[in-house]
């Protein structure tokens, strides 16, 4: 690329006629794939350390709720290599690093609010020394009464933020008049992110009182803001740089900030480069997780199973502070309809305050919990009426022209539910397998099969509308190579690859010409977090704008220079045709440079059409919806509660895919992560508020054998996003997570077979083998009130 190879006009014309192979819609490999595989990809902990490097370790609270009576850090200094010990009093600027609402002191201030809260931090020449010193500090507490459960918080009406409701029509009247009425409840467990790279930041003090911050964060601008705040300096003194994360999943949206802020404070006080990497168990104790929810519902419906009205109460266990719980519970409420027209609906959301780590964003952002509630209701209706759950689901789908208004008064447009269900139902042979399963179950006393097909309708946009904006920066250098920067962060989802494809498409050059650079607050300022599945939608559009600006300048230059009209200048596959003359892209760039044309541009994008009035709980919070379907078949052991997922069929809607390979990776990864949330991943705390499952020895995320041998994943074809998104693609980060609900419903289906599908087993999430076995016992009890529970063991012989 550096040297200009001269080609004949014929050769250039032939290249011009060929297709660009790395533009949008192509399965271009992840930009870092080879580096991942070779071990060359650098994560923050892999960066070369400075000779005077400091390592930070935080001493964590041993109490869930207590007043700090005394902190004596003198013993820490007896450990060799200790540079400094800090408590809340040592923070030079603002102590509170709450991202939206206050409530998150960087270090405990006067009292501790959860077991695992950082109380003091030690910086030493090694992590070992910092740890030894931190554990040597004397911290005395006076216990206060902790609140550890949603039940208790609800009883005390102890909330981190006010409760909120969304309504359409008169739910109470609809419930009173409905032919059938059911009430129930459901407990939904939380989920540890288990990003493979734990939280980490590395901070270097610079001149003018500034800081260069390397942070594994989904939100560099917020880290910049909070580092500036704890130091008491303006934002322009802080530069945050983020090349890649070893996974994020929402866990590094707000909660990456604390390590960066601690490092910055220590770097300021010592003048030394400072790094903080959380050991796995500390990471799991300190940071928040997916919110556990408690659901209470009442539902009214007719003989067919059609909803007349619902009243759904969603109560989230937020932990000790608001963090993002306001928006997370809102999103749970927005998705309490999933794919269904609820009839007259009242959806209430409570944000319960407990003495646990502050729960935070996690892929789906409350949506999964809201959707699980309504899917439970669909199953309960089906069992009550003796119908196939899929029939009840389809009956309640949003219509295309009527029954298409959500309970927050957004019209569901471009609804793909019916056609996608029809396609998947046919391709996965739902009806035939339903029959096959009935036959199998009738003959199999111990093992029972279950089947479920569940839909996903997920709203795309940040529900805080102002966050739907992004910036990008593109430079074209004189050799035709391109430097690309955008406000999004790469956490594995392939965002950099997709945005590079967008720029490649605009310039019609191969992606290998495009160098992606780390997200950096000095290049693109005031960015939104890479969250809400919005990364490619927002940053892709912004980068497209930037690239188009430069391309337009090139076109105008060429038209001027070669005396042609703008329409005569066309870019294709690395070449440019100027009426009947062919140039390589770099030749045009070189000519434009000599012609004194600016080859650098920013780009900016904001999502159109969206608005939301929270006081009225009405509006259009979502630009569009993404749809998906999954059908899961499981096998359950009624003696032990163990189960296996035997087969999964998935059809998912990504509009016109920017990169099918990457999108399928998101669909499969999301599905398995969602399945993990609802099956093997269980968080357990003791009655003192201590997390007992604080490491991978006790907290089990899915492994390779949990993925079914028969996994059939397909992207919906020929369905461009009707909205004007980047090349008419759709967001794909979060929606597939909720495909995992099919597995949970299939397990319950297998258990329900024990009572001829007439009873809905009370199996909370996650459906661990133990919970499944209790569901089995419940079915047997209800089915045979006085018979021996284990009779069949003898009968089968």
């Amino acid at each position: 690329m550096s040297e200009l190879i001269s080609h004949s006009q014929e050769e250039l014309a032939a290249l011009f006629r060929a297709e660009l192979l790395t533009g949008v819609g192509r399965s271009v490999r992840h930009e870092s794939a080879a580096k991942h595989a070779s071990g060359e990809a650098l994560y923050i902990d892999d960066r070369l350390e400075f000779p005077n490097q400091l390592h930070v370790y935080a001493r964590l609270s041993e109490r869930a709720h207590a007043r700090i009576v005394r902190i004596d850090s003198a013993p820490c200094y007896a450990v060799p290599g200790v540079a400094i010990v800090i408590t809340s009093a040592d923070v030079p600027g603002k102590l509170d690093i709450g991202p939206v609402f206050p409530g998150d002191p960087l270090l405990a201030d006067g009292n501790v609010q959860y077991l695992g809260q950082p109380v003091l931090a030690v910086a030493a020449d090694s992590l070992d020394n910092a740890r030894r010193a931190a554990l040597a500090a004397i911290v005395e507490y006076e216990d206060l009464e902790p609140v550890l459960t949603v039940d208790e918080a609800l009883r005390r009406r102890q909330f981190v933020l006010d409760s909120h409701s969304q309504r359409r029509g008169d739910a109470a009247a609809a419930l009173a008049e409905a032919p059938h009425r059911l009430a129930g409840n459901l407990r939904i467990g939380g989920q540890e992110h288990f990003y493979l790279e734990t939280q980490i930041a590395s901070v270097l003090p610079t001149e003018d009182g500034g800081m260069l911050v390397h942070s594994s964060t989904q939100h560099p601008s917020e880290v910049q803001k909070l580092v500036a705040a704890v130091l008491g300096v303006p934002l322009n003194k802080v530069e945050v740089d983020m090349r890649r994360m070893g996974g994020g999943f929402g866990g590094k949206e707000t909660q990456a900030a604390a390590p960066a802020c601690l490092c910055a404070v220590i770097a300021r006080l010592t003048g030394r480069p400072t790094k903080m990497r959380l050991p796995r168990n500390e990471d799991m104790r300190i940071t928040g997780k997916r919110h556990p929810f408690q659901v209470e519902y009442e539902v009214g419906f007719d003989d067919d199973g059609r909803l007349h009205g619902v009243h759904i109460q969603l109560a989230a266990n937020c932990g000790y502070s608001p963090d993002l719980s306001g928006a997370i519970v809102d999103r749970a409420m927005f998705h309490a309809d999933n794919a269904y027209y609820l009839g007259d609906a009242l959806v209430e959301g409570h944000r319960c305050k407990t003495n646990l780590a502050s729960n935070t964003a996690f892929r789906g952002f409350g949506g999964p919990q809201g959707m699980l509630a309504i899917e439970e209701i669909m199953d309960a209706i089906a069992r009550h009426l003796g119908k196939d759950p899929l029939a009840v689901r389809k009956l309640n789908y949003y219509g295309k022209t009527e029954r298409n208004l959500t309970h927050y008064h957004q019209t569901v447009e471009h609804n793909l539910l019916e056609e996608m269900t029809a396609e998947l139902e046919a391709s996965c042979e739902y009806a035939a397998r339903r029959e096959e399963i009935r036959t199998f179950n009738a003959r199999s006393p111990v093992l029972k099969k279950g089947l479920a097909l569940t839909p996903v309708k997920f709203g795309i946009s940040f529900t805080s509308s102002f966050l739907n904006q992004a910036g990008a920066l593109v430079h074209v250098y004189t050799d035709g190579s391109i430097h690309l920067n955008h406000g999004g962060t790469e956490m594995g989802q392939g965002l950099n690859t997709k945005v590079a494809q967008v720029v490649a498409e605009v310039f019609q050059v191969d992606v290998s010409r495009i160098q992606i650079s780390p997200a950096n607050t000095g290049k693109v300022p005031n960015t939104s977090p890479t969250a809400a599945s919005s990364g490619a939608d927002l940053n892709g559009k912004a980068a497209k704008e930037a690239a188009q600006t430069i391309r337009q300048r090139l076109v105008e230059f060429a038209a001027r220079h070669w005396q042609v009209s703008a329409e005569d200048v066309q870019f294709k596959n690395g070449q440019v045709r100027i009426r009947d003359r062919y140039l390589s892209f770099e030749e045009l760039v070189r000519a434009a440079y000599v012609g004194q044309v600016s080859l650098s541009s920013t780009g900016f994008y904001r999502t159109p059409k969206i608005y939301y009035d929270r006081t009225q709980a009405r509006g259009r919070p979502f630009y569009y919806y993404a749809f998906g379907m999954a059908c899961a078949q499981v096998l359950v052991d009624t003696l032990t509660g163990e189960y296996r997922l035997l087969r999964a069929d998935i059809l998912h809607d990504v509009g016109a895919s920017l990169n099918p390979a990457i999108d399928i990776g998101q669909v499969e990864g999301g599905f398995v992560q969602g399945m993990g949330w609802l099956t093997c991943e269980e968080l357990v705390w003791d009655d003192k508020g201590r997390l007992l499952t604080a490491g991978p020895a006790s907290y089990k995320i899915p492994t390779v054998a949990d993925v079914p041998a028969d996994l059939r994943v397909k992207l919906l074809e020929n369905r461009r996003n009707p909205e004007d998104t980047v090349f008419h693609s759709k967001a794909v980060g979060e929606p597939p997570f909720m495909l995992g609900i099919s597995v949970w419903c299939a397990i319950k289906d297998a258990v329900a077979s024990l009572a001829d599908y007439r009873l809905q087993p009370a199996i909370d999430a996650p459906a661990t083998p133990e919970r499944v076995l209790w569901g089995v016992e419940q079915m047997k009890r209800l089915q045979q009130p006085q018979g021996a529970v284990h009779e069949y063991a003898g009968e089968s012989t």
Binding site: H36, L447, L639, G665, G695, S698, V704, T768, L773, H790
Partner: protein, 482 residues
Amino acid sequence: MIQFLLNRELRSESALDPNLTVLRYLREHLRRTGTKEGCNSGDCGACTVVVGELVAEDGRERLRYRSLNACLTFVAALHGKQLLVVEDLEQRGRLHAVQQAVVDRHASQCGFCTPGVVMSLFALQKNADGPNRERACEALAGNLCRCTGYRPILAAAEQACGAPEPDQFDAAEAETVAALKAIVRGGTELAGNDRRCLLPASVDELATLYTAYPEARLLAGGTDLALEVTQQHRALPLTIHLGGIEELKRLTPGSEAIEIGAATPLADCQAALAAEYPDFGALLKRFASLQIRNQGTLGGNIGNASPIGDTPPLLIALGARLLLRKGETSRTLALEDFFLDYKVTALESGEFIEKILVPRARLGQAFRAYKLSKRLDDDISAVCAAFNLLIEDGRVREARIAFGGMAAIPRRATACERALLGQPFEAAVIERACTALAGDFDPLGDFRASREYRLLAAQNLLRKAFLELHAPALPTRVTDHV
């Protein structure tokens, strides 16, 4: 001094802290940061490396490659071996075939688990004869990936194991074998930071050392011992490393019993035990990850005396015996008499397990074993059960039933056994035995399972064993569906 090959470079280390793990050695001492720390407890596989060691096969010595968790491996365990890490695979700017397969199949997303995945795939490729989903799942069970959902990683395994071309390691095998043979075993030690690790080369040498230093900790696979250092941050001032003692790694199928050297890795026990007792083999496949089984030993699983160790209930049910050695003297002890109380064993000071004697299967003997956990692979049992029954003429002639996870030690269910002995093998008797079983144990409830679940599941496992023996055609195990 320890000596090992770092790929092809001979490293001699005499002043390393023996409590140093290979992971920290790589990342902090050598600044080779391709190998990642994901958990530092052997549960995620991000730090997977491959170790090549000499094995005798058909009269000649060749290299065998195995995956290990670098975070659980102390540097002394490298003595006499070849260490391969992710940076070693690329050659002259070209990715190795397993790396290329990962790239081609879109098998990395965030990339943090990828170096470990690559090394597990490398070991799989070296040991597999063609693509095989079951073996790929086994090789990857200890590699957590939070992004991909694993399907593309399995596709990469299939590509990499399809028709592997000889690579630079094959080309250098003779040279590597020669270099490893030149390293002197035995009689050596590693000392640094006021800590010592002794590396005897024979059982006699071990017996002498352990008599002289009964306070030393025996380091076999170290997969549990290492956690004291990496998780509890305790020092191990004196360890005796057993990995260099070939006699302790021998497996001899005798006419009465299979004799297994105490330091035989679990991976090496699998085939022999599976041939004798298929359920033992099936359980070993779920015994932690392959990385752990490559390193962890049968003697270690017993000597560790955990109430939730998975082999002791099976071995107790089978009537296994231990050959114990102290100084010059030896004795044998039934395994069921070995466990005295929580983490307390019958071992005397300076005494160690030399061999495990597992009786051969007899005609008419029925052996069934089950492991219950939240996750299929690499999880700790909530309940582990083993039923060893001899049924003749429809009656239970012998019954040895043992459980793990039900008490402070793995032990027999004696009341349950009594309820079965001499009785007809039928449902009503099984129900009575279930009632008796409830009196045998008073389990704890914890985050793995409640007390009630453990009791009911234990009873149901007896019912399941009965069903399987009574109606063998009946499908009873979801674990068959992987």
